[in-house]
């Protein structure tokens, strides 16, 4: 490149600066400017790759941290008070000393912030200094540099298993097909490989890459956090534009796999990369408890105001009582006396300073510390740890732990949350024949369709094949068998297919412990039986590997798991399939099980081995990717033998069925379609996920026409998505139905038990799913969301008026239930399970939007409140969050949303607590969540145990904190009546400050972190204990005032017993105050001791330590403080007091009298055991067996009908019901024209039992 050219480019770069405001980012190669100063760099305005996630620098730490801390109201209050100390007229004691508490609090918080920031700094430093290869023009090669040196416009090379340093536009790959595989686990948690392609036209024929010759200008969009959106184009010097998209982008943080090396130009670096933009820090929410605390703090402020007012008035009146100026009323320093009214006014502020501790400022710091401790324990819970992913529970929101104990409504996603999102191929329907049905008999004449069907399964996907040779962490030791062995046994494709299908299904059935309907069918031809045995051996492996090769597969039971590990190892072909959606993988594995093995996939070629052993290689002409609007995907291939252009389409039945080529010749196709539809309905009602497979053969001409339009669409930059979609829709018409598949999404472990426990805990569980009605209802039954005996209302209508009446009508049915729900509010214990029928509500997304449009929300809620469960199907993400918002705002309850996918993000963010399941569908849900868990079942312990603990601990601690401050401050207040309301304290101010700061601060914090009122086992055994938290029983308005009363009582006792003891003696002020201080220390600590429910060594340590600390500090302080507080000072007073027996006598009696009422009430509560909590605590004292027995008795007492003896395994009932419904419906309905959704009228399906009898009520 000549220097002239360089110069023009520099000018270009110079001129380009204002373009920053544009919507696009324009960048060019850095290489021509390599050694120029930064000023001349063309891409200098873009962020470089060094990242800084720290909030502060060494220099800015103090001002910035202070600034942030003063954003808190509490701290501002404290500082204002501290300032007030310096106003001379207020006559404060030692202003410097008054600063100590606020300084300690600020310093503590600052240390915490600094430590967190330092950890971030270290992480940043580590990242910034990771090595990478950047192309250097001088060296004519890639040189090793650090991540932080990467700039936009640099050419960077990454090798296999290396982490990508920035967002790179892929221009070169060592792969001959120009692809590069990346693993995005770091970014979104998905462990399957994603394929990325080099930008079109950059495939170098000789496989070398020469960045010097890159002279195009890149236009791409501005940095955004959307991982799935990226588009732009290259402006070549010859004015040709080449479009590119997200499939050409390597994302920072991902790992290169299966590709030796790849290179490209950096488009986004550092903070502008998608990974960093997605990485938002922890979120701050305010918990319900904290909101309550804030109102009570306001009550304290009011109390303080009243007390100060009394003080001011008292001072005024006191001054007025004297006939003359007494010698002890001090004039100001100029020997003037100010008027009593003005003195009274000043006294108000003096009082504010004296009594400031009434506002529990340190409460906020304490709460924060406690939450840190609570989160430590939650994240350290081994029961919430998942072995397989090696992940603990993540607490992303740091300050809402106690909300976990107050949840009333749970909104759950279905797929991936209740279910594993781990698909198992269960059934299929080919050409209108439900596969395992006996009547279907011989189907040899359908072979072509079968061929197509399975080819479609194998081809129509975006599954990536990785093999043993490629560097992936899987191990493939020798496998004894010959992979082709079984092929020799095959005479007829059809019979083999049949055998394989049977054995496969059987295998699946036994594997998942499902009594498959297959076994109950006595048919088996002798021929297939004979060949069954040896095939079965193979299939066993085939299947088990098909299940487990998916690396993200999880299983809870360890033994089960190890078994499946062996399955992985024994893969005969060394093939691994990595799919973007688990459905796809399931289908490919299924196809493979029938012999249609997907061998390789390249962008333009897909290779399949047929059962006969022949290998077909299809040229892939185009892939129309899946999107949620079309609900389908298609692959356009050229058949290697017939050279036909074939489109294979796979998608949701609703999406495919409409596109079928129905108007046409044969009645046969219609028949097949309706039969298939019937099968689909059956699958759905059995809880299977359905997909339709269709195909279309395209003429060469038609394809060419379409391809050119497509080409055009691809290279546009504006509204490209719409154009692409249009072209796709254009192509996917007049399809021929090949068949349908039913894939089972297994329930996660312990989901029914978890839901049952949650419900017992008084939590309403709603399921919001995008799935179709039948699938959702069946999952609801199998996870015991609905019970067999429940009445289930299904609301499904488009009409507003009908909906309105129906809601009213249906409510009549629930009317009897109203009475008992009223009872339960009144306080009868647990009538829900035992009395009357229970109700379930199923509502469709369409109906739901009608509810919102027609303002029928309250009616719906009214109805929903009487229902045991509500199931919303076919809802959009927005509707999900609308439902959550509705319940949250209208019912004023605490809500929790749990989900795993991007479609749950809205509802997760709307609810009071959002929980993400780090599952198969990426990390978006987790990113948005407050807590991230790995399994739904963890919710049980998280809520019932940790929720209860966190809530009860924090609530009790907060209450205690209020008590503590009021009690202590009141001592000073009572003294005001004996010192002329002059704001004197009878306790030395150092000891006063230390009292709150050191002597009594750690026990409540320890209490808030560690107290365990009821053991985890009992909490899990008796979920109804959770209700105490739901009803905020530990911290009600009344609780606050009761504890205030107690504080007043105790402070009166602590003041007046010493007062009367020392009244009329020659006692001096601090000698008088010392026993009060000591007594209040004992009272305050022993008050806590009454509240502490379990005493561990740590509890003892803190309590005894606090007392010791008090005495040690007081003794030392009294011994050294000769001139602290003249003229009367604390010197030697503690020592004197401790030598006086009366001191001890006063301490003992005062403490006893002060605590007697509370103690007696606690004893009576403990004896009468009215509250379930006390009963549960008694259970805790028993041995394990006795406790379990008691828990059983307890449960049977409470809900006699709910004895778990007749519990059928949900899976069994599931398969039985499938069977039953299958036969029932096939007998009952002949060719049903089943359009579930198109009914214009409302269906109120009262389903008793598992659709044993279906009656329809028409309104």
């Amino acid at each position: 490149m000549g220097s002239l050219e360089v110069w023009s480019l520099i000018k270009q770069g110079w001129r380009r600066k204002p373009e920053q405001e544009d919507k696009v980012r324009r960048l060019i190669s850095n290489l021509p400017y390599e050694d120029l100063r930064r000023k001349y760099q063309p891409n200098r305005q873009y962020a470089n790759n060094s990242i800084k996630t720290t909030k502060y620098t060494v220099w800015s730490f103090i001002p910035m941290n202070l600034f942030e801390q003063f954003h808190r109201f509490a701290n501002v209050y404290f500082v204002v008070i501290a300032m007030l100390n310096f106003v001379p007229i207020v006559n404060a004691f030692e202003p410097g000393v008054a600063l100590i508490p606020i300084c300690v609090i600020l310093i503590l918080t600052a240390i915490k912030d600094a430590w967190e920031d330092f950890r971030r700094y270290q992480a940043d430093k580590q990242l910034n200094n990771m090595p990478c290869s950047i192309y250097s023009r001088k060296e004519k090669d890639f040189v090793s540099k650090c991540w932080k040196d990467v700039r936009v416009g640099d050419f960077v090379k990454v090798v296999c298993n290396e982490v990508i340093p920035a967002d790179i536009l892929l221009l070169h790959s060592s792969d001959p097909n120009g692809v590069c595989h990346i693993e995005t686990a770091n970014l979104d948690g998905e462990t399957n490989l994603k394929q990325r392609q080099i930008v079109r036209g950059f495939a170098a024929p000789d496989g070398s890459f020469q960045p010097e010759y890159f002279s195009s200008i890149i236009y791409c969009e501005k940095p955004s956090n959307n991982l799935n959106r990226f588009k732009g184009y290259l402006d070549k010097p010859d004015k040709k534009k080449i479009g590119f998209g997200k499939e050409n982008l390597l994302l920072r943080g991902c790992t290169v796999r299966n590709t030796d090396e790849a290179a490209g130009i950096v488009v986004y670096a550092g903070h502008e990369t998608k990974a960093m933009l997605n990485n938002k820090g922890p979120r701050y929410k305010r918990s319900k408890l904290e909101r309550k605390v804030n109102t009570d703090v306001l009550f304290c402020v009011a109390l303080l105001f009243i007390m100060c007012l009394i003080g001011a008035l008292g001072y005024f009146i006191w001054l007025e009582t004297f006939p003359d100026i007494p010698p002890f009323v001090p004039p100001d320093s100029n020997n003037n006396y100010i008027s009593p009214a003005l003195s009274g006014f000043y006294m108000f502020f003096t009082m504010v300073i004296l009594l400031q501790v009434l506002i529990p400022i340190s409460l906020y710091v304490s709460i924060e510390l406690i939450k840190v401790g609570q989160i430590f324990f939650i994240t350290n819970d081994i029961d919430l740890y998942d072995e397989e992913t090696d992940s603990r529970i993540q607490c992303r929101a740091l300050n809402i732990t106690e909300d976990l104990g107050q949840i009333k409504y749970i909104f759950s996603d279905k797929t991936g949350t209740l279910t594993e999102n781990k698909m198992v191929f269960r059934r299929c329907s080919v050409m209108g024949i439900e596969y395992c049905h006996r009547e279907n008999g011989d189907h040899c004449n359908g072979s072509a369709s079968f061929m197509d069907f399975f080819l479609a399964l194998a081809i129509c996907n975006t599954v990536v094949v990785s093999t043993a040779m490629l560097p992936r962490q899987f191990r493939f030791p020798n496998f004894g068998g010959n992979p082709d062995k079984h092929n020799e046994n095959i005479q007829c494709l059809n019979s083999q297919l049949r055998c394989r299908l049977q054995s496969l299904l059987k295998r699946m059935g036994s594997l998942s412990h499902i009594v498959n309907s297959f076994q109950s069918i006595p048919e088996k031809s002798s021929k297939s039986r004979s060949s069954l045995k040896d095939v079965k051996e193979e299939e066993a492996e085939d299947y088990s590997d098909s299940g487990s090769n998916n690396p993200s597969r999880r299983n809870s039971s360890a033994s089960h798991h190890s078994e499946e590990e062996r399955g992985t190892v024994s893969d005969p072909n060394g093939l691994c399939y990595e799919a973007e959606s688990p459905d796809e993988a399931a289908l490919v594995y299924a196809a493979k099980a029938y012999g249609f093995t997907l061998l390789a996939r390249a962008p333009d070629r897909v290779t399949v081995r047929l059962p006969q052993g022949a290998v077909l290689s299809f040229e892939v002409l185009d892939t129309l990717a899946f999107d949620s609007t079309r609900k389908r995907m298609s692959v356009v291939v050229r058949h290697p033998i017939t050279r036909e252009v074939v489109i294979y389409t796979k998608g949701a039945d609703s999406a495919i069925m409409e596109l079928l080529d129905c108007h046409g010749r044969s009645n046969k196709r219609k028949k097949i379609a309706s039969k298939t539809q019937r099968h689909l309905d059956l699958y759905a009602s059995a809880g299977l996920r359905t997909l339709c497979i269709a195909k279309k053969v395209l003429s060469e001409q038609a394809y060419d026409d379409w391809a050119s339009i497509r080409q055009e669409a691809e290279s546009t930059i504006d509204n490209r998505e719409e154009l692409l979609m249009e072209t796709a829709v254009h192509l996917e018409t007049n399809l021929t139905l090949l068949g349908a598949t039913g894939i089972e999404d297994r329930l996660q472990d312990d989901v029914p038990a978890t839901i049952a426990a949650l419900r017992e805990a008084g939590i309403q569980v709603w399921v919001l799913t995008g799935d179709k009605n039948e699938t959702a209802v069946n999952i609801a039954y199998s996870c015991r969301l609905f019970n067999q005996g429940d009445m289930v209302f299904t609301l499904n209508t488009d009409s507003r008026s009908i909906l309105d009446c129906t809601l009213g009508e249906v409510r009549r049915y629930t009317a009897p239930s109203q009475s008992w729900s009223f009872q339960s509010i009144v306080g009868a214990v647990m009538p829900t399970e035992s009395t009357g029928p229970t109700f379930g509500l199923v509502i469709e997304g369409r109906t739901l939007s009608m509810v919102f449009e027609a303002h029928l929300q309250m009616k719906l809620l009214e109805l929903a409140r009487h229902c045991r469960s509500v199931l919303c199907c076919r809802v959009t993400p927005l509707q999900k969050s609308a439902v959550v918002k509705l319940v949250r705002n209208k019912l004023k309850v605490m809500t929790l949303s749990i989900g795993d996918g991007a479609n749950d993000v809205n509802m997760i963010q709307t609810a009071d607590i959002g929980i993400g399941i780090s599952g198969q569908e990426g990390m978006q849900a987790v990113m948005a969540s407050d807590f991230a868990i790995t399994h739904f079942k963890h919710l049980k312990k998280l809520l019932l145990v940790h929720g209860h603990w966190c809530y009860s601990r924090l609530a009790k601690m907060v209450i205690y904190f209020f008590y503590k401050n009021v009690m202590y401050v009141n001592l000073l207040f009572w003294y005001q009546f004996y010192c002329g309301f002059s704001g004197t304290a009878m306790i030395d101010y150092w000891l006063m400050i230390f009292f709150n700061l050191f002597f009594t601060s750690t026990p409540p914090i320890m209490f808030g972190i560690m107290d365990r009122d009821i053991s985890a086992e009992t909490l899990l055994g008796l979920p109804e204990l959770y209700k105490t938290g739901q009803n905020s029983e530990f911290y009600k308005r009344a609780t606050f005032w009761i504890v205030m009363l107690d504080a007043f009582y105790q402070s009166l006792v602590c003041f007046f017993i010493p007062y009367w003891t020392y009244q009329g003696s020659d006692i001096d002020i601090f000698t008088f105050g010392t026993p009060m201080n000591t007594v209040s220390l004992f009272t305050i600590l022993l008050h806590l001791a009454i509240e502490i429910k379990s005493w561990t060594a740590i509890h003892w340590g803190f309590m005894v330590g606090s007392v010791l600390l008090y005495f040690i500090v007081a003794l030392i302080f009294s011994a050294i403080c000769i001139n602290c507080n003249p003229p009367s000072n604390p010197y030697w007073i503690m020592e004197n007091q401790m030598a006086d027996p009366v001191f001890y006598l006063v301490c003992i009696i005062t403490t006893v009298v002060a605590l007697l009422p509370r103690y007696i009430i606690r004893v009576l509560q403990g004896t009468l055991a009215l509250s379930p909590l006390v009963q549960a605590r008694k259970l805790d004292r028993l041995s394990t067996e006795a406790r379990d027995q008691q828990i059983k008795n307890w449960k049977s007492q409470r809900s006699p009908s709910e004895v778990p003896t007749n519990l059928v395994s949900p899976v069994d009932s599931f398969s039985n019901s499938f069977e039953q419904s299958f036969y029932n419906s096939s007998l009952e309905r002949e060719m049903p024209d089943m359009q579930w959704d198109s009914n214009e009228e409302t269906q109120n399906t009262f389903s008793k039992g598992h659709r044993r009898s279906i009656s329809t009520m028409t309104v």
Binding site: Q1063, D1068, P1127, V1163
Partner: protein
Amino acid sequence: MKNQGTTNRPDNTAFDQQRLPAWQPVLSAGIVIPGFLLVGLAFIGIGVALFVTSRSIQVLENDYTGTGSSVHCSECVNPKTTPCTCQLNFSLSALFQGPVFLYYGLSNYFQNVRGYGSLRRPSSSCAPYQYDQNTTIAPCGSVANSMFNDTFTLYQLVNATRKTVPLDGKGIAWWTDYNIKFRNPPEVDGSLAAAFNGTVKPVNWPKPVYDLDPTNPANNGFLNQDFLVWMRTAALPDFWKLYRRITEGEYASGLPAGNYTLEIQYNYPVANFAGRKSVIFSNTSWMGGKNQFLGIAYLVTGSLCVVMSAVMLIVYAKFNSPDEDF
């Protein structure tokens, strides 16, 4: 970025899993009955001891304000009659057990007012009694300025002659006040007065600080016992302050029965704050001065505990579920 090498598994320790062995007391009637009973009985015991001790302490208090109900020293109420000496006669029918302490009492005197003396910022603790016409006041401050200055002399009337009862003014202040906290300026040429050169007496004082006790040169300056006693801020507005002890000679074992006269130098005005002055003779026990309250409080609380234990017994009998075993 995740650390692939190390496992993320939480430690399975009792602490991390919140399974530390714990004592989980359940408060219930059954367990507290003996506790209440024991505490109650112990309190009653202590109460009786305190009560009896307190009963044995003799206190003789005489108000000599001269106004209101008090008849003594009414002639001195008028502030113009200065100096004014008045007499207070009393008789003891029995021996007043020694050692006897003589206190003066002030009521409605708020020595604990903030700004008066205590809890005032040190820098300004003396204002406005720091300078008198630009000369430093010693001792400065309003407390010192308003020092109580009535004096008492006690006579026993033996056969119509007045016999002086020796009053011991040594060691009435706190040992720490006398030995550590307060210090006289170093004497100049063996003279304390010279040490206070350049200072003036407080406005209300008749005598300078180095001349407080003419009888005992060692009892002067800042180390004057009466001054030290006064400087120790009283906790409550009605307070006593120790004036003298009667420990010497024949009175060491107490004041024998007989008639006594207390001669009072009535100097200190109390009218401007509606206060009262009194003089108190008292003896002490191991628990200090006379105090009925503590004994009664113990007795009442003790009885309450015993009653509670009875109540708890009833509750226990009525509500105890059979499956509880303690």
